[in-house]
Every structure is written in C-alpha cells, then in structure tokens.
C-alpha cells in the first residue's frame, strides 16, 4: 500500500508515443488508479493523427485540489513517460526543465521520413546522452522486448506503468492497478498484466 | 562525354519541345513513360546521371564518337551517311502476302532475320486506330501484322527497352533516324554498365523527312473521320501533295500543306534523312510507290541482304543514277537546313568541352556541310 505524497500540486506527467502504441490506454489506467486514491486528475489529449503515423501526447495533471489546464504549461513536466524514445526528446523542447524525470522505452518506431530514407533516426546512445543532459533522472527500459517475451508487445505499456510506479514519485501500487484493470479487461488476462506490472517495477530498481 | 540525368533531360529536351517521343528514355525505369505520343515524367527522380539522358537522341549526340564506333571512321557529313551499296528492292515471293507499304522490304528483312535466327525478337510498330503501338514480335508470321507506314512519331524504343528487360539478346528493330541514333548511343554503353553486352542484333532504319505530332494529328483527323476506323495512311509520291486516309468506307484526301503544320519543331533540327546509324536503311523509291530504295551500311547488313536475296525473300536491282543523285540532294538539304538552324539556336557544341547541347560536331565538318 503506497503512502507516497505528491511533491508538488499539480504534479505533471506526460505520456508520449506514436499513434497506435496504447498511449490513451496507459494514460487512462494511470489516471483511474489515481482517481481511486482520491486525486483530481485532468488529462489532455489530441486524437486525430493517432492512427496515421503522428506523435501523440497525453498530459496528466494530478492534484489534491481541482482540475487544471489539460495542457501542461511550458517547462513544467515533472515526469515524461515515453513509449517511444525520440518522443521523449521531442516533448522536452516545450515541457522539459532541469528537474524532469524521464522514463523511456527503447523500442524505436521510425517516422515515415526515416523509412523513406530522407531523415536520420538518432542512435540509442545519442538519445540517452541528450536525455541525461536535459533531465535530472533517466531510465531507459526494453519494455516492448519484455512485453514480447511475456507474449504480447502491447504489454510493454503495462511494464512502463509498473516502472513508473517503481520510480516512486506517484501514489501508485499493485492493488490499485489490479482494481482498475479488473473493471475493464477479461478475468483471464489479469494475471499476465500483473506480471507485466511487477516486471516493470523491478526493471527500474536495477 | 559527361552524362547528365533526368532533370536535365526534362529541362533541355522535354520542356524545350525538342522531344520527338522516340521512347528511348521510357521503360528504363518507372519514371518516364510515353502516352499518346507525349513523353511524361511520372515522378521526380533525384539522380544526377541516368540512362534516360544518355540514350536520348536529342542530348549531346557526338557524331564522331558514334561514327567511329559503328563504322570505324569519323563523321564526314556524307549526305547519305556511311554506306556500302545503294540499290532498289522489294519483298520476294517467299514472304507471305500482306498489306505492306511500298515494296515490303522491311517486312521481308525482319521476317527473314527472325526465321533464320539472326534476331531472337523484332521490335516493330503496330497501329491501334491511328495510335502507333510498339510490339515485340517473335513469330515471323506476326511481322506482317505491323507492316504499313505510320506517319506519326512513335515510341518504338519503349518496345526495345521492354524486350531487353524480357531477356532477348539479339533484338532487331525497325526505327526512324532519331531512334537509330538513340539505339546507337545505347549500344555504346555511355553510362558504363558493368558486364554490358549489346542486345541489338539488327537495325533496319527508315528514310524520314519529318514525323507528325500524334496528338495534333489525332485532333486534326478526328474532326474529319472516326479514327478507330482507319485502315491505312499513305502519302503518295509528288506531285500529288496529299495525304490519303483509308477507312472501310473509302478514302479521304487531305492537302499536304495542312498536314505539314502538324510536324513538331524538333524535326527541323534533324540532320538525318536516311537513318545513317543502321545496318540497313530502307525508303520508298521516288516515283515508284511499290519499290523500295535500300542502303546497306554494315557487313552484318550485307550478309543478311545477300542471304535473303539468295533464298527468295528479297529481290534487288540497280538504282538508276538520277534517283541516287536526287536522294543525295534531298538528304543533303535536310542535313544542311537542320545544322544551320541548330547552330543559330545554339544547340551545337563544336568545342572540346562537355556542354548541355543537342549535337556535338567537329567545327571543320560543320563548316563543310553548311558551305
């Protein structure tokens, strides 16, 4: 049972990735976990480019007091959870600050410009280096690969949620996660999701 | 010689209306295509050097280079080009009956060459209504289906490019002078392809004074008849000064003056009346619509003609002197007029440097011809 308190109010999280990765699902699960614990959560999202190759972002404002702007103000992200690595780099341009924490998946999804041979996708070393220069704490985990090992790459998102819990800045816990997903997924899938969540928590403690 | 690419081809030839629609640049890749007589570039290509530019008969034609390659001597401006014998001919009895134009020499040569294995495929030009359509023919019996003259520029070389893709190794082509030049450029491997082998086995060139722009001709004729019903098109010898268009319902005559307006500008720069870069060139004998004039240029050409004659595919005879003189006079006129115009318009490169020009020629030779 968690007893972590928010270090500031509102606490701002960005979950970012590429359309179709499960960005919305991840933000809903996280948000519902926090609503259950009595918090006000405001989520800002855009749908539209989601299926068609564009970047997607969910802004989550966690507060004890009220709703806040669905768009996080400039330079005020506290945690960036990136389901795709260059999306982390991208959001730091507007929302980064020296104290931000970055939790990123390592699985790259190339933009059309890259696969068409026109743009370059940076190396993992370059991405990690930039992240370290622009953040206070950085974790890169192979969430998709582990998800694949568990049987479905989409479980990578659950692993990321577990990892976010492991980072230790939010009042998240396993029971809360189980409670939320029990309401929305078939009973026979609950165990594998819990397994993924636990794995995520472990991966950031390494 | 420096090779340029598709963008230069577009700028220097297509956009300047120098393109004759010969098809040399088409079907080498997915970008250039010929449609109803016009050359189109479907998508932009970023290459700076390409076969499209290198094979085009309107880009940097180095006459000396081509002449040395195929005839072992520099270009000297002979009105008929380098040649051996000049005779008259017609199809022999061994050639099947068919509606060939004039003496049927071209059909005879191609069906003979296919028959005897001199070539493994023949690239000919068929007709769909009045639209010329390239065809790759492998059955000698099918050659006659493509006989009859087409007076509009045709993308015959797209058929050659397709035949090369399909793997034929000794291809015969019936081509106009500009197409012969493109074929000669291609055979010289200008882009330096590794393991290049010459896929062309025989070039039969046609005499040509001008060709008609297909779309202009189509629009002009469509006002008068249903183009899908056309069976034959002919320009009888002077002094008729008409074009005859045959349909199932009969014959229509059109004044040649009207027709000449449909000749594209690019033909006025053409220096070659008798397809100088061929193995054998064939035209119509002046005044005798059922007989051909035949010019043999290479040993291969001579071998084929000799054997065809021996086996009854071809009947040859001597060319009367005055016809030869007239032919030379006409050919020289075309060459001279074209060179003067090209020089005036800055399209000839007489220097040692690479330039984006249409023709490359030794300045002395140029002077001799024009004088």
């Amino acid at each position: 049972m968690t007893n972590i308190q928010l270090s500031k109010d509102p606490y701002n999280i960005i979950i970012t990735g590429v359309g179709g990765q499960g960005n919305v699902m991840a933000s809903r699960v996280l948000a519902n976990m926090l609503v259950e614990k009595g918090y006000w959560v405001t989520i800002g999202e855009t749908f539209g480019s989601s299926q068609r190759g564009g970047s997607v972002m969910s802004h989550l404002r966690i507060s004890k007091e009220s709703s806040w702007s669905p768009q996080i103000p400039k330079g005020r992200a506290d945690v960036v959870v990136a389901l795709e690595p260059i999306e982390a780099t991208r959001v730091l341009k507007d929302y980064g600050n020296p104290k931000v924490k970055i939790l990123s998946n390592t699985r790259a999804i190339s933009p059309v410009g890259v696969i068409a041979g026109e743009l370059d996708y940076p190396s993992m070393e370059e991405i990690k280096k930039s992240a370290r220069e622009l953040a206070s704490d950085v974790w890169f985990i192979d969430a998709t690969d582990e998800g694949l090992r568990l049987g479905n790459p989409i479980l990578g998102n659950i692993i990321m949620l577990g990892a976010l819990s492991g980072v230790g800045v939010l009042p998240m816990d396993r029971e809360g996660f189980k409670g939320v997903i029990s309401r929305s997924i078939p009973k026979d899938k609950i165990d594998i999701n819990l397994k993924a969540y636990d794995m995520g928590e472990q991966m950031v403690k390494v | 010689m420096r090779i340029f690419g598709p963008n230069e081809l577009l700028e220097d030839v297509v956009k300047k209306d120098l393109c004759i629609g010969c098809g040399a640049c088409t079907y080498l890749c997915p970008y250039f295509r010929s449609y109803r007589g016009k050359t189109a570039m479907l998508f932009p290509c970023t290459l700076t050097e390409g076969r499209c530019w290198a094979y085009c008969p309107k880009t940097e034609v180095d006459l000396d280079d081509l002449s040395k390659r195929f005839f072992d001597r520099p270009y000297d401006g002979d009105p008929l080009g380098f040649h051996g014998s000049v005779k008259i001919s017609r199809a022999g009895s061994k050639v099947g009956a068919g509606s060939f134009q004039a003496g049927g020499t071209v059909s005879a040569l191609m069906s003979f060459a296919l028959n005897k294995g001199y070539i493994d495929a023949a690239v000919l030009t068929d007709r769909d209504g009045i639209l010329p359509v390239p065809r790759v023919v492998t059955d000698p019996g099918d050659v006659l289906k493509c006989s009859s003259s087409k007076y509009t520029a045709a993308p015959t070389l797209s058929g050659l490019n397709q035949a090369i893709k399909e793997g034929y190794k000794r291809i015969g082509v019936v081509s106009t002078p500009c197409q012969c030049i493109a074929i000669a450029k291609m055979r010289s491997n200008p882009t330096g392809i590794d393991d290049f082998t010459d896929p062309v086995g025989l070039v039969v060139g046609l005499f040509c004074t001008w060709a008609l722009d297909f779309r202009a001709f189509d629009a002009f004729i469509s006002e008068r008849i249903d183009v899908n019903k056309v069976t034959k098109v002919d320009i009888p010898p002077p002094p008729a000064e008409i074009m005859e268009i045959y349909t199932a319902d009969g014959k229509q005559e059109i004044p040649l003056d009207e027709i000449r307006k449909l000749v594209p500008d690019t033909c006025s720069y053409c220096i070659d009346m008798t397809s100088e870069f061929s193995d054998i060139s064939v035209g119509v004998l002046e005044g005798r619509p059922d007989i051909n004039t035949i010019i043999v240029r290479t040993k291969k050409g001579q071998d084929i003609v000799d054997e065809a004659e021996k086996e009854g595919f071809l009947v040859l005879d001597d060319l009367p002197e005055e016809n030869l003189e007239h032919l030379m006079w006409a050919a020289n006129n075309k060459k001279k007029r074209a060179l003067i115009k090209a020089k005036e318009d800055g399209l000839i490169n007489t220097s040692q440097e690479d330039k984006r020009s249409y023709l490359r020629l030794d300045p002395k030779t140029l002077k001799n011809i024009i004088a």
Partner: protein, 645 residues
C-alpha cells in the same frame, strides 16, 4: 453496458468532456440524439449509441448535420428531450434550419452541442459556432470544466423547456477530448410517450403548428425568450468569480480558457491581484452581473478562443454602461495581448498577464531552452502524416496522379473532406489542388467543367468519400449532370466514415444502434442520375489508371468512377493480411538508375523501410497490412507477394 449509464447517484468517474456531456444528457432523460461524425464531437453520439438500446434512446448518425438537427427537432416537437451534436462547421451546414427552428421554437428540451476546434487540430478551418447563437438569437452556454460539462448539459434541457427554445452548449477540443473527475447525479426513471400535438390554437407553442411565421410575431417572441434567459443568467451558478474584492485586473473568460486562466494566475502568483470572472452563460450576457464585476476595476482582460466574441459583446455593454461604471481599458484579442489565430494554452495567458502586470516570467533558463530546442531539432525527426499501410487511397491517388501526368494537359483534382484530404501531402502525391468543405470538391469541379467556352481544357477530377457522397455530394452531382459539366467525380468508397472513427453511413447495412438496415447503392444512385458510371478496385493499379485516362479523354458530361476497396482500419479488415510480402534483396535495384527507390521515396507506405546500411528495401512485418499493392509498383519485381495462410 457502459459506465456512463451507472445508476449510482454520487459515483465518481474520470470522464472525457464528451462523456460528461453524454452523462448530463442521460440525467436529463434525453430520448432522441442525432449527429454527423466530426472531430471533436463524435464520441457524443457514439457513447449515446452504446447505451441506446438499453436505455431506449433513439440514436442516429444522419447523412449531414442539417438532417441531424431536423431529426432531433422532431423528437422535441413530439415531447421527447433531444440533442444534436456536431463539429464547429456542422453548425454552418445546419444553419438554415437552425434559423427557422429558432423562429418556430421547440417543445421538449432540445440542445445543440457544437464542438469547436480552435487551432484546427483535426479540421481545415477554425471557425466559430458561438456567433450562430447571437445570429439566430438563441441562448449560449459554455462549460468551463468537466463537472460543468455534465451539470450544464442537464440544465440546458431544463432551460430549453423553460424558454421553449433550442439552447446551444458549446464545447472545444480541449474540453471534449480532455478528461477530468466527474461526480454523477441521478438517472430519471420515468417513461415517455411521443405525440405531436397540432390541433390547438395556431400560435400555441405546445399544441399549435410549428412554423417560423408570422415572422414579426415569432421574432418578437424570440426576443422575449432572450430577455427571459438574460434574467435567468443574472443568478446562474455557472457564472463564478474567484479573486480579491478589488482586483487590479479582471479576467473574463469562458470554456477551456477558464482552466488556462486559472493556471496562469497561479503560475504568476497573482491570486491576490487578479480576479477571474468565469462566464458559463455567454449569450445573452447578463448586464447586471457584468456591471457588478466591471465596476471592480478599470483593467479588463478577455481570454477566449477563437474570435473575440465575448470581448466585443462585453465592450458593447461597457460602452452602454460607461456613464455608470467609467471608461475601461480592455486587453485581449483586439489589442494583441491574446493572439487572433489558433488555440490558447496556459502559456499564452501567462504571457499576456505578464505583459499587463509587468512581471518577468521565464519557465526555464535560456540555456536549457536553447539546448532542448537544439536537441529536438536534430534528435527528434518529425513524424509526417501519411495514409495507413494498406490504405486504398494511396493506391487510388497513385493511379490518379499517374493518369494525369500521362495525359499531360495539366489536369488536377478538387479535394474534399476525409482521410483523403491528406492527398494534399506527399503521401497522396500532392494530388489535391483545391480543398474546402464537405462536398465542395465536386461542386467546384462541376464549375470548372463548364469553362470550356473560355478555352479551359485542363482535365478536372473531384474526389469524394462514400460518406461525403451522402452528406452533400449528391446535390453537387445532380447539378453537374443537369448542367452537362465536363469532369470526372472519383468516389473513394472504403465502406465507412474513416477519418472520424469508422462510423456507419447509408452506404452500409448497419446503423448507429447496430441494427441491420437497408444500404443505398452508390453506383445505382449515380446511374439513376444519368452519369456515366464505372466501378473499379483501386488495388488494380493498371486497370484503374487506364480507366481514368479513358474517362478524362471523354469530354461528354459527368463521369463517375467509383474506386471501391475497404478501409485498412475497418473492423472487417483490421489485422487480417491478404498477402505475406517479402523483398528479394538480390534483385532490389535500390538507388540505382532504373528505380531510385520508387517504393520508399515516392510510394512511401510505412510498411516499406529503407535500410541505409544494406541499401535495400525491407518489409516491416508488424506494420505491413498485406495489401500487396507494392509488388505491382516495383520496376524489377523484387517485391514478392504470397497469399497468406
């Protein structure tokens, strides 16, 4: 069963703005709901259709917004609470009916819910629906957060019934698609009976005839209704004030801008200096309320999007009251503190506030900002939008583009609204040369097709989706056939309204509630109208291109080419590959003369990946949809397709 129909009063959920609106409508006992798909509004009808059967609500995706409003109005006339939902420019489509409905009045509560898209995040315009409220003289409400989205919607039905007038409740993308905590109220248990009464006295609002005439009488009634609304709004709990009694600056705001303004005040620490007047009732403005707050200070900043609707209306009131309240200094759009164009966010408001209060605010140091900018520019390659793998539009535009290039007469395509609007971009080979509103592609093309007498000889095509065809494509086609316009209408039939989330339309056998219903055959309709009609599969590239060339050479009247192939995202298709695709790397010509990367550089399907190291194309099995089209474009046959098991 949806959680939106949870009967527990007091339950708390995290809801999207659109879901909150739906809950509010359910708590009001809505019985009829109609709309046309349009981002950011689509979830309203979608969520209502999910509970429609269980809760006995008639929910319809209508062919267009005008018909949707008419369908909903019938519900109201028959005594059933009804709503219609649409995106901002849907109101433009419905506006003729709206004008007359405002004249005739309504019976049971009726609410119009436009969801505007400031910044055009999913639109090709950032038009305003709010002005329609003023123009047709109906009340306008704007929820300022998620709880209000629910509570206001419920109240809107009550207000509508009190006034016998349609009420506009306007949302924006950042409200509709954002989510927040919402506490549920009670769901009604009563049942309703529909009956249209018309035998009473002709002018009786509940039992007479429902017409917008006599106009002077009805128009005067409209004014009375507005006056009544004005009175009600003076005391409305949705108009709130937070701040000091004597603020230095008063911010007046509405809608999502409330959240931005509140946050901006907090960021700059101006809680004790700046007052925030949030208006939930933004037309007509309650003058007494405004007088009270305008009197508090001389400096007023209006924060809203997109047009200065509130700002200008407040200025009019302020001018009228000037002798009583004094002259005010206004900050907002007209003086440039708030941009005239685009959506707002907390930083824009922070900027404006900082300027007015003289505070110097920097979210991060210049050094960090520069570094982050530099890193993003080099290290985060942009993600261009493209058609999905397996999208029939990619194949259709490939053929259209090539046919026009071959034709060589500078032909062009008039575009329309749908996924295929993206054909403006390289993913559609930049084929579209005009693009406006629903159905306008065909209308414009038919205009071009009549210009032959002025020497116009360019081949003209229009593209129109199957849903767009039913929306407004049919009248344009009728007009074109009747006037013998020379052009080709290409109907891109992918069996659904794809861009907005694959909603059904009359071309399909299913409706919003999931019932099996008769479908309308597009080809038959076009033939009945007298057009020359051809139907092809866009995945057959050669045949499609040949057909297009034939059609654009035919100068007689209207040609219709239906390119029929199901959307890659349709429920029927999704995930099922028809072919397994592989590349023979030995044959792949790649960058060389003869190919120059046609598949990755030009065709650009996301399933085809250029391997810079090996210098060949590869197939991304995860992304590839297995449609097989790329095998037909490879000039050397290096792309192989094999039927999937």
């Amino acid at each position: 069963m949806s959680y939106l129909s949870d009967s527990n009063e007091g339950a708390r959920y995290l809801l999207m703005g659109n879901e909150a609106i739906v809950r509010g409508a359910l708590e009001a006992g809505v019985k009829v709901a109609a709309g046309y798909p349009g981002t950011p509004s689509s979830e309203i009808i979608e969520n209502l259709s999910n509970v429609g059967k269980d809760m006995n609500i008639y929910v319809e995706w209508s062919v267009n917004e005008k018909v949707a409003m008419e369908v909903a109005a019938a519900g109201s006339f028959a005594g059933l609470r009804s709503l219609c939902a649409m995106k901002q420019n849907g109101v433009n489509v419905a506006s003729d009916f709206l004008l007359h409905l405002a004249g005739s009045g309504t019976r049971a509560g009726m609410v119009l819910i436009p969801c505007d898209d400031p910044g055009a995040l999913s639109s090709v315009n950032e038009g305003e629906s709010r002005y329609f409220a003023r123009l047709v003289e109906i009340p306008l409400l704007e929820p300022g957060d998620f709880q209000e989205a629910k509570d206001m919607t419920k109240w809107a039905f009550e207000l509508s019934e009190e006034l016998r007038q349609i009420v506009m409740l306007r949302s924006v993308t950042r409200m509709s698609h954002a989510s927040g905590n919402v506490g549920f109220g009670r769901l009604p248990v009563s049942d309703v009976h529909a009956e249209f009464k018309y035998d009473g006295f002709v002018l009786d609002p509940m039992e007479g005839i429902v017409i917008s005439a006599p106009v002077d009488y009805r128009h005067a009634q409209q004014h009375e209704k507005l006056n009544k609304a004005r009175e009600i709004f003076e005391d409305c709990p949705f108009n709130t004030y937070n701040g000091p009694d004597s603020p230095e600056l008063l911010i007046i705001t509405s809608s999502a801008c409330t959240l931005y303004s509140r946050e901006a005040i907090s960021i700059l620490g101006l809680k004790d200096r700046v007052g925030l007047l949030k208006l939930g009732t933004t037309w007509p403005l309650p003058p007494k309320l405004l007088k009270k707050y305008l009197s508090k200070t001389d400096k007023i900043m209006v924060v809203e999007e997109v047009l200065p609707f509130l700002e200008e209306n407040i200025k009019i009131l302020a001018a009228e009251m000037a002798s009583e309240i004094g002259v005010k200094i206004f900050y907002g759009k007209n003086d440039g503190k708030i941009p005239m164009v685009g959506e707002l966010n907390p930083d824009i408001v922070v900027n404006a506030l900082a300027q007015v209060t003289g505070i110097d605010y920097k979210p991060v140091s210049d050094e960090y900002e520069n570094k982050a900018q530099e890193t993003a520019t080099g290290g985060a390659p942009s993600r261009e939008l493209t058609f999905c793998p397996g999208c029939p539009h990619r194949a259709s535009f490939w053929s259209i583009h090539n046919a026009l290039e071959l034709d060589g007469r500078k032909g062009f395509v008039c575009g329309d609204i749908g996924c295929y609007t993206m054909a403006i971009l390289p993913c559609g080979f930049s084929s579209l040369k005009t693009s406006h509103s629903m159905g306008s592609g065909t209308g414009i093309a038919s205009g071009f097709g009549k210009l032959g007498g002025f020497g116009f000889d360019q081949p003209v095509l229009s593209v129109c989706g199957d849903s767009t065809f039913f929306h407004t494509g049919i009248p344009a086609l009728v007009n074109a056939v009747h006037h013998e316009s020379n052009f080709t209408m290409v109907i891109l039939d992918n069996s659904g309204t794809a861009m907005t989330g694959f909603q059904p339309h009359p071309g399909l056998k299913v409706n919003a509630l999931g019932d099996e219903v008769p479908s309308i055959d597009i080809a038959e309709v076009c033939r009945a109208l007298g057009a020359r009609v051809e139907v092809r599969d866009p995945f057959d590239l050669e045949e499609t291109q040949k057909t297009i060339n034939q059609l654009i050479e035919d100068k007689q009247g209207v040609k219709v080419l239906i390119l029929r192939q199901i959307c890659a995202l349709s429920p029927e298709k999704k995930g099922k590959k028809k072919y397994e695709m592989t590349i023979d790397e030995e044959i792949c010509l790649a960058e060389n003369c003869g190919c120059n990367r046609l598949c990755t550089r030009i065709f650009r399907c996301p399933g085809l990946v250029w391997d810079k190291g090996k210098k060949v194309t590869k197939i991304d099995d995860v992304i590839c949809a297995g449609c097989g089209v790329c095998a037909d474009i490879c000039p050397v046959g290096a792309i192989k397709r094999k039927e999937a098991a």
